[in-house]
């Protein structure tokens, strides 16, 4: 197989050939190639179809600014859409496919869009697909989505691993061209800790693409020497294949290192990519410059590319873009491309220069004129040049370089709202406004376009950043040519001249935008989508601005510019997620009885980050309800045990502990006796319930507060706020002990008998009555805490031991309880029993309900100040028809009571205006033999016994129900005091 456009030289290793496939066809490239350079070497110019019109497209650039040559890389689960061929390092076995086509790349059926381009101009979305409204979702959008677009996802799990890491340095240098290398050398030699990062797989930047020298060496050779010196310095970290994607607050940078993108499959143990968070006080941005194209009729055919790209392919990759090449330029740089190509033996058909005073050459013809049209359906064949005298000359060429001048790469200078300023000499924006903290810009990114300027700028920037004193060391000699340019943006009179090739925006679209009143630069961008593609308009924004300025009769700086946002180049979601995906999305907390519960075959449910046993299926039980009903009946009939470790526990100690809790809870705690527990309700300052739980007083100056599982953290945070910010001199200390104690609820009529076999103290009803608490010992000396509290409504205890003994205690309880047929129960049975008892949980404390709504209005003490007490007394919180918590039972006991259903009057309309309330929690009560629910309804306490309709139009429920007391079981509380 021949690589018909391969030249001699370049930084490729012809000793290492690599096989690859593009659209099913096999090719050979070399180590050091990119996919784009290897395709060009093989004579492949057509690489994709455009976004909107499906026009044939090839490469525009040789770098990360590429708008056109986006391919689908790899296959199967590693398939990766929208990969730029220009930055894809060639590897053996690489497989790529072109995107956005129906049929083959050469005969794309969707190319019909190009014929209808008059309907698809700027704003077509807003104008064309307005009505009928119903058509939008079903007809327009799916078709547009399918027709316009990029690559597709595999929809398979990404098999690779992505990592995150943190780095710190004295100086971060972004970009390893002449300015970046010189900055890194200057800083590295001073002993500072330096990180040098570059998105390319070889350091050197433009030096790899140019023929001119530094000192006595070729530029690339000098770069290799600089890299070798930097590699020898222990204080310098070289990060190749690493894109700094964003400059964030206070000197924090994000960077993506592509560890394994250049191999087919990552080596064992290696991540695909790493997201680095780099902390640095100072940064030298040496991001170089990006050449801009010129807009003319049909300037998007494969083979038409940036002049600098043609030069890069020739000098770095040893590839001629074609055998017959012309250049269209408005500045001296275009002539440099022609000279380099000529030196490599490539035929230069002509250099077309818009300037009358363009330099002449002995080696190639220089025409004063403009390229006005091109031909070639799938690739450039001819270009028409209109000469200064008005005659047309047709060039027979396969590649055309566009050199419209260079834009300093100011992207990263904008990330903290920095707004670039206009430089008339360059006809380009240069860094301006407020730069990110500690950033100094050097080299071409700062508008220093010569190699000598870059070396000087890099050295000075590093010295300024680090405060280095003394004379600037002598720098090696390098070219120092001035920029010689006449601004020229587009050829007059063309109808389809492309500005933004990725989003298919033409000069005409910009004019239309202006004509239709979308004249501010931000409106222009959104109306035409100019610069909104994945390349963020790196090669296209300037052309659009120039045309807007001309139409508005303003200068470009008067029109202004949009600014760039992170990320610098498209970034995979996978690397942002890192290891936080699937089971590792967040940490998993296991209760002390987890191992034991797993042994019992428990079904677990995630609550907060905790894994809690939901129920414990027994052999022969085929439905979860069977297990839950059994657990409830067994607990109420004898004794059950449940792990309640996950409830938040906060130790409150200090002389002012009781006063402190008086502030935290709306009800009083000052008079709570030592050895007693009290239910407490916490309000937010606006009077809405925050959380509820119990607080036990273990000593005069020591309380144990419990919170709900979900609110353990917010409640702790709130208590610290009250302690530090509102009452800074109260003598009180807080610490979360949730994980320090394993805690089990032992509930049911036989719970005391069971525990008597374990605890060392007398826990008879007299010695340890309802709502008692104590520090005790169990099993002959192990310290423990015992609380006589009940969530189930049965005679019940909660017993806590240091977490390390949690597993042993659960096994001990099961052993001691065997004679009572002790039954472990999960969160479902827990929920059923609390609903049977009318206890509120998160469903009721849902961020909209007050103490009054919860039926605890009288608990809010008026004798003292507490958080939320003042605003609880507002009129609006105490309306006569305020929602009140009640119980619900179906009139036909076989009917369901779905949570979330709404209550309506038995007679009357069923609509939102006549809504009476809603069901917050519901379950089947095995003790009552029918469904029950807890609900909030207006004026609920006065409506007990009323018949109402329970409706859920969404699920088709319409059930007759009766309002009852929420205390379905043991309303007098005799069981828990037994």
């Amino acid at each position: 197989m021949t690589q018909k456009n391969r030249l001699d030289g370049g930084q490729i290793d012809t000793a290492i050939p690599m096989n690859f496939k593009f659209d099913g066809k096999s090719y050979i490239g070399y180590q050091g190639d990119t996919l784009a350079s290897a395709l060009l070497a093989n004579g492949v110019r057509l690489m994709g179809r455009s976004f909107k019109y499906h026009r044939p497209r090839g490469v525009l650039s040789a770098g990360s600014e590429e708008p056109n040559a986006l391919v689908q890389l790899r296959s199967g689960a590693r398939q990766e859409p929208n990969t730029r061929a220009t930055t894809t390092e060639l590897f053996d076995g690489l497989v790529a496919k072109s995107q956005n086509r129906l049929g083959s790349l050469r005969f794309d059926a969707m190319a019909i869009n190009d014929r209808f381009s008059n309907f698809l101009t700027a704003g077509f979305y807003y104008k064309t697909f307005m009505w009928p409204k119903a058509f939008w979702e079903k007809v327009y959008e799916p078709i547009i989505r399918k027709a316009a677009g990029l690559g597709s996802l595999s929809l398979l799990d990404d098999p690779d691993v992505y990592d995150k890491g943190f780095l710190h340095c004295d100086l971060l240098v972004i970009g390893a061209g002449p300015a970046g290398l010189m900055a890194a050398l200057t800083a590295g030699r001073s002993g500072a800790n330096v990180i040098l990062a570059d998105e390319d797989f070889t350091f050197g930047g433009r030096l790899n693409s140019e023929t001119f020298g530094i000192g006595d060496d070729a530029g690339a050779v000098w770069a290799a020497g600089a890299v070798a010196e930097l590699a020898s310095l222990p204080n310098v970290r070289l990060m190749v294949r690493t894109t700094v994607i964003g400059a964030f607050d206070h000197g924090i940078y994000g960077a993506v290192e592509r560890v394994s993108d250049h191999v087919a499959v990552p080596d064992a143990g290696k991540p695909r990519q790493i997201l680095w968070r780099i902390y640095t006080q100072r940064t030298v941005l040496a991001a170089g410059a990006i050449e801009r194209p010129i807009a003319f009729e049909n300037n998007d055919r494969p083979g038409i590319m940036l002049g600098s790209a043609i030069r890069t392919y020739a000098n770095r990759y040893g590839v001629a873009a074609d055998k017959r090449i012309a250049i269209f330029t408005n500045n001296d740089d275009g002539h440099r491309t022609a000279a380099d190509l000529h030196a490599k033996g490539v035929k230069i058909a002509a250099v077309v220069d818009v300037r009358a005073d363009a330099p002449r050459s002995m080696d190639f013809e220089v025409l004063h004129g403009q390229v006005v049209d091109t031909k070639g359906r799938l690739g450039l064949t001819f270009a028409d040049v209109k000469l200064a005298d008005g005659t047309i000359r047709t060039l027979d060429i396969g590649a055309l370089g566009m050199s419209g001048g260079w834009n300093p790469n100011v992207h990263m200078t904008c990330h903290q709202r920095g707004r670039p300023t206009w430089n008339a000499d360059l006809a380009a924006f240069v860094p301006g406004g407020t730069l990110p903290d500690g950033m100094i810009v050097a080299g071409a990114a700062n508008g220093d376009m010569s190699t000598a300027g870059a070396l000087r700028g890099g050295a000075q920037a590093a010295r300024a950043a680090l405060g280095l004193k003394g004379r600037l060391p002598k720098l090696p000699a390098a070219e120092d040519a001035p920029v010689n340019l006449t601004p020229f943006w587009y050829v007059e009179g063309c109808s389809r001249a492309w500005l933004d090739q990725q989003n298919d925006v033409t000069v005409k679209d910009v004019k239309l935008s202006h004509q239709e009143g979308f004249r501010s630069v931000e409106h222009l961008k959104r109306y035409t989508t100019l610069g909104m593609a994945t390349d963020q308009g790196k090669t296209s924004n300037m052309g659009g601005l120039a045309i807007m300025a001309e139409l508005a009769g303003k200068t470009i700086p008067q029109v202004g510019t949009t600014i760039f946002r992170p990320p610098y180049t498209p970034t995979a979601i996978g690397v942002l997620a890192g290891r936080h995906r699937g089971q590792d999305f967040h940490p998993k907390r296991l209760t002390p009885s987890h191992t034991w519960a797993a042994e019992q075959g428990a079904v677990f449910v995630e609550v907060g980050n905790w894994m809690r046993a939901q129920w414990f299926p027994k052999e022969g039980e085929s439905h979860w309800r069977e297990s839950v009903d059994r657990e409830v009946l067994a607990t109420r009939g004898s004794v059950g045990v449940c792990d309640v470790t996950t409830l938040g526990k906060i130790d409150v100690q200090g002389v002012d502990s009781a006063d402190f809790l008086n502030k935290i809870y709306c009800n009083g705690f000052a008079k709570l006796a030592v050895g007693k527990v009290r239910y407490g309700l916490m309000l937010r300052e606006d009077g809405i319930a925050l959380d509820d739980g119990t607080a036990g007083r273990l000593a005069e100056d020591h309380f144990v507060v419990t919170t709900t599982t979900a609110n353990a953290l917010p409640v702790y945070r709130h208590m610290e706020f009250v302690r530090q910010c509102l009452f800074p001199d109260m003598d009180v200390q807080l610490i979360s002990t949730t994980e320090a104690w394993a805690q089990y609820a032992v509930a049911g009529p036989n719970s005391r008998k069971l525990l008597e076999k374990i605890v060392d103290q007398d826990i008879s009803n007299d010695a340890f009555p309802f709502m008692a608490c104590a520090n005790i010992t169990i099993c002959g000396g192990l310290r423990a805490r015992l609380f006589r509290i009940s969530f189930s409504g049965e005679l019940a205890f909660e017993i806590a031991v240091p977490t390390a003994y949690g597993d042993a205690l659960m096994r001990k309880i099961m052993e001691a309880g065997a004679e009572f047929d002790v039954t472990p129960y999960g969160t479902e049975a827990l929920g059923v029993m609390r609903m049977e008892k009318g206890h509120a949980t998160g469903n009721e404390l849902n961020g909209t309900t007050s103490a009054l709504n919860l039926g605890m209005g009288r608990m809010v003490s008026t004798a003292k100040d507490s958080i939320g007490s003042v605003l609880s007394r507002r009129d609006g919180m105490n309306a006569a028809d305020a929602l009140m918590q009640v119980g619900i039972k179906p009139l036909d006991l076989g009917d369901p009571v779905p949570a979330g259903a709404h209550l309506m009057n038995a007679d009357g309309p069923v609509d939102a205006a006549h809504d009476q309330g809603y069901v917050t929690s519901a379950c089947y009560s095995p003790n009552l033999g029918h469904a029950i629910g807890l609900a909030f309804i207006k004026d609920g306490s006065n409506r007990i016994g009323e018949k109402m309709r329970l409706v859920s139009p969404l699920t088709g429920v319409d059930v007759a129900v009766e309002i009852v007391s929420a205390h379905f079981i043991d309303p007098k509380g005799e069981r828990l005091r037994a």
Binding site: Q724, P728, V870
Partner: protein, 95 residues
């Protein structure tokens, strides 16, 4: 962002939880005649300045200090970091 904790030095903002306006320290007197109005303003009315803002941050993944951070909401520049407890004392919240 980096928050320069008065006790622990510079820490990444990801260690902190944000609450909002540090005026929350100035909880009104519940016994005042105007208490209902005062608390309504305290609970609901906040300035939303484009510029310097004193705000409460909680060092949740750290030493559990509440801090008052003076931060420019436009630029994210931080000019001052204090212990909220000291600020509260300065505002006369001692017992």
């Amino acid at each position: 962002m980096i928050i320069d904790h008065p006790l622990l030095g510079p820490r990444d903002s990801s260690e902190f939880t944000y609450l909002g306006d540090a005026k929350l320290i100035e909880r009104p007197d519940p016994d005042a005649e105007t208490a209902t109005r005062d608390f309504y303003e305290y609970a609901y009315l906040r300035d939303n300045p484009a510029g310097w803002h004193e705000e409460l941050w909680f060092h949740e993944a750290g030493d559990r200090s509440w801090l008052v951070v003076t931060r420019n909401t436009l630029t994210h520049e931080i000019s001052k970091v204090e212990m909220a407890r000291d600020v509260a004392r300065g505002k006369g919240r001692s017992k």
